[in-house]
Subunit: 532 residues, 2 copies
């Protein structure tokens, strides 16, 4: 068989020849929209390749983007790797100091930003001496400081690169840093091969199943694990793409879904909770939408059920992390459950699912011995596969690779006899009470099904008798009041044992979030359990 | 990223751990059915690996199967490559002399057959001295000659192989021979890597999109290019599998679709013509069926339309050949056509479509210069990609590889400005009339839409004035009579120019078929145009 490298050109190539008329829509803000075709996109990618070459960057030089979801960012997603350079997507919501650390740690030679981040970029330039160029998106030349380059001017001055470039499949493709909930962010270097293979997972039937028939709206940010790889999958498969506004607005999301014929949309559970809330308020429908792609944290049962029963929209949950590119498992409903009760279907989708083709998963105990697949024994989840990390950049975090050939994910779970994995918690969020473990995730998932509760996050607080006990922080729905007793009775009725019930409920205005939209339990612990 | 070989173990592994309860159904004949689970399948595959090891076959020894679609054949599909040996699927419908040639040419060490082929196997043993073992499927020990081994006895005597085996992704995986419509059959050697990557195409949204939610019925034989790779895709994705009877019966196919909840079924157009005919006769429905996967030759427009309008069943056409593993292009409907007219949708699906991710296609003229993508200029179709052949076994057929890095497919087509490829004909079936080319495929597709015509095949006959002229061989529907004039008027009304109309119509009882079910034009030419 032909010796063809699995690289970004294989993902990009058909976009030009086969999908030229497919649309890419960017909703810039509530009023303004940008719209062009794959043909336009491909031509601008080729111009950007030339422009990057002309800037004199190193052969595998690192080029950072710190940007919202947009067609320009998508152009960078392809032009940087296709030029043989390395795409480093930087999370714009991290602290300034973390961004400084990341740009320096990654040895980035250039930084690409939208116009609203030029001021941050200016300050970064001072602190990151290896940055040779800052390039700014946008037509408004007056918004671009003299010390920076205009992205549009670079493209205008460049001829489209012709032909393609031979890139080994083992060459570096991209860098993402972990969100760093413990310690410094750590760099994860993807190769062309790992990205190509992960992209096929994005297009696989058990994955998001992108195809030419789909219109995908990635709400998950492109600075967060490549928006779960959806932009690569969409371009490879010829899906129509719709980018919503940088600042999330459920009304705009609903409008775009109906206006553009979005068939699949992707975001963390809190996004879908807010959209559901808006749907209930507005009586809008979601006519063409078939599937929500959900990841990052446990989606509440009640929400999954509402979408399915009220809107005929299925949820596909995926589990993974930056270190797994990110998709490791999904919850594609088995054929045997197609005609099952709504309860059975929701129950299946709410777990972490089974590994996608290419990924192996196993549960090990602290002594690295296999944990039985009995649906109740907990173990650390380890994974392996061609798009799973084998070391962090700079050799950090060696403790994740102590078991030869496997990556320790830091998540704790059980495996059911059927092979379905159920997450119990992040190792560090488990609550240890009287020698037994309590899952904060299970409590939160249940609490968010309570009719008076919008959101809930559960943390451990130290306890002299039991070592740790659960505390529930709760955001009630507007005009609702909820008591500790109501919370406990509700959980008891759902079958939680008495010793797992929270002893305290704290009412809060909103759950604090990390830079990637997950519940920030570090912040909650600092507030409610400072002594922990 | 981890250095994990893309091999058969990655396709097999999740079948055990994640899909243990999924069913595999084999309809042996009208009365008897075999049914077991992925768990049973995986355990028997592991036993077969041990049994193959114990037979003392070489490390990468070639093991032939000559068998119908069945669970045992599926076990061989995985056990042979997972044991590091090479799966050689032999077409049982070839002539005896061709089979002798193929087994000897491939240096096969063992041959696995069902009980009804033991007599042929006995005769093959005499002519193929390198065959060390013949293994026979089935529980009936009395049906197995003493000179042969019982497949079931081998499994009963073997412990399941534990763990997995390190196999390089570049190791040989399987052998298929081309059907040899010109000259001797030629061997195509697939690697573990090419098979893995093609399997992801079988699971891709733009491909057959197999997933855990699907139930697939491969009617295409497993001795024909690995049944288009569907068995590998199904096992990798956890799809329920239903094998129909070895001898095709449209009533059994319809019954199984409804009984087992088949969502996708795969076969050549003649299969679907016969099923449609039976549906019209019986007034049966196809309730769970979503998609027909069709390949091998041009499906008639009228048939595609009937399935869509009357049964809400979409057709996905794929184009490819043994040398492309086989899927190279597909006709996944673009999002922009989801709400288009039935005519537009059928028109899209009836062409060859666009290359799947990983495959590049181009049109070249006789001087190897690019042909414009204008929808009318014809050229030879060349393809490249990681599951495209770079040489035949034994170095035969070098003329297919004259353009560096590309495989010449032997099909002639046009490319539309949209990138869609439309097949005109096999190079050797094109009709050259007065210096212009006439497509036999286009005439056949049109004729099979005539209300009085069941099937039609068009061939060239020599002509002193025009060099060649088209002759239409036609199978009328029961009790129908059709004349040359009716044929000509019908084609004129459809817009065919006068010079392309057939000058002769021959009424025949059935279109002769090749061993893989395609129209056998060699046989038609021998009958109606012996002087050609």
């Amino acid at each position: 068989m032909m010796n063809v490298d699995l690289n970004s050109w294989l993902l990009f190539r058909n976009a030009e020849q086969s999908y030229g008329a497919v649309e890419i829509v960017t909703q810039r803000d509530a009023q303004s929209q940008h719209r062009y075709t794959y043909g336009d996109f491909a031509n601008r990618v080729r111009k950007l390749i030339t422009a990057l070459d002309d800037l004199g960057l190193s052969e595998h030089g690192h080029v950072a983007t710190m940007a919202w979801n947009s067609f320009e960012h998508l152009e960078c997603y392809f032009a940087i790797p296709c030029s043989s350079r390395v795409l480093h997507t930087v999370n714009a919501r991290l602290s300034f100091e973390d961004i400084v650390y990341i740009l320096n740690d990654a040895d980035d030679e250039a930084l690409i930003v939208p116009a609203d981040l030029t001021e941050t970029a200016e300050r970064l330039k001072v602190r990151c001496p290896k940055l040779r160029h800052i390039i700014v998106f946008g037509d408004d030349a007056s918004a671009i400081p003299a010390s920076m380059l205009s992205y549009e001017a670079l493209l205008n001055g460049a001829e489209p690169f012709s032909g393609d470039r031979n890139i080994s499949e083992n060459a570096p493709f991209g860098i993402c840093y972990t969100s760093g909930t413990t310690g410094r962010p750590k760099g994860v270097l993807a190769t062309h091969r790992s990205t190509y293979l992960h992209t096929l997972t994005v297009c696989a039937g058990n994955g998001p199943a992108l195809s030419a028939s789909e219109c995908i709206m990635p709400i998950v940010p492109m600075f967060h694990v490549y928006a779960w790889g959806l932009p690569f999958g969409a371009i490879a498969a010829g899906s129509k793409i719709v980018f919503p506004t940088p600042s999330f607005d459920p009304r705009i999301v609903i409008h775009l879904i109906n206006q553009e014929g979005v068939t699949k949309a992707a975001g963390v559970p809190t996004i879908w909770i807010a959209v559901l809330d808006e749907l209930h308020r507005s009586s809008e429908r979601l006519d063409g939408l078939k599937e929500l792609l959900c990841g990052g944290s446990q989606p509440p049962y009640a929400m999954i059920r509402s979408y399915l029963e009220e809107y005929d929209v299925r949820l596909l949950q995926a589990w993974g992390m930056t270190e797994t590119s990110p998709i490791a498992t999904t919850t594609r409903l088995p054929h045997a459950l197609l005609n099952a009760t709504v309860e059975s279907q929701v129950d299946y989708v709410a777990k972490a699912g089974v590994p996608v083709t290419g990924i192996a998963a196993t549960l090990l105990d602290d002594d690295h011995q296999a944990v039985p697949h009995d649906g109740s024994s907990m173990g650390d989840i380890y994974v392996r596969g061609p798009w799973v990390l084998d070391s962090y950049m700079g050799g950090h975090g060696k403790e994740s690779f102590e078991v030869e050939g496997w990556f320790r994910t830091g998540d704790v779970g059980v495996m059911h006899p059927s092979g379905v994995i159920e997450l119990v918690d992040r190792t560090k969020d488990l609550i240890k009470s009287g020698g037994e473990w309590i899952s904060s995730v299970a409590l939160e998932g249940a609490l968010m099904g309570h009719p008076k509760i919008l959101e809930a996050a559960v943390i451990a607080v130290p306890d002299t008798r039991w070592q740790e006990r659960p505390l529930a922080t709760v955001v009630p729905k507007p005009d609702e009041v909820i008591t500790l007793e109501e919370v406990q009775t509700y959980l008891l009725d759902l079958g939680f044992p008495k010793w797992q019930l929270p002893d305290r409920v704290e009412i809060i205005d909103e759950v604090p979030r990390t830079s990637v939209g997950k519940f920030d339990k570090k912040a909650l612990r600092a507030r409610f359990s400072p002594e922990a």
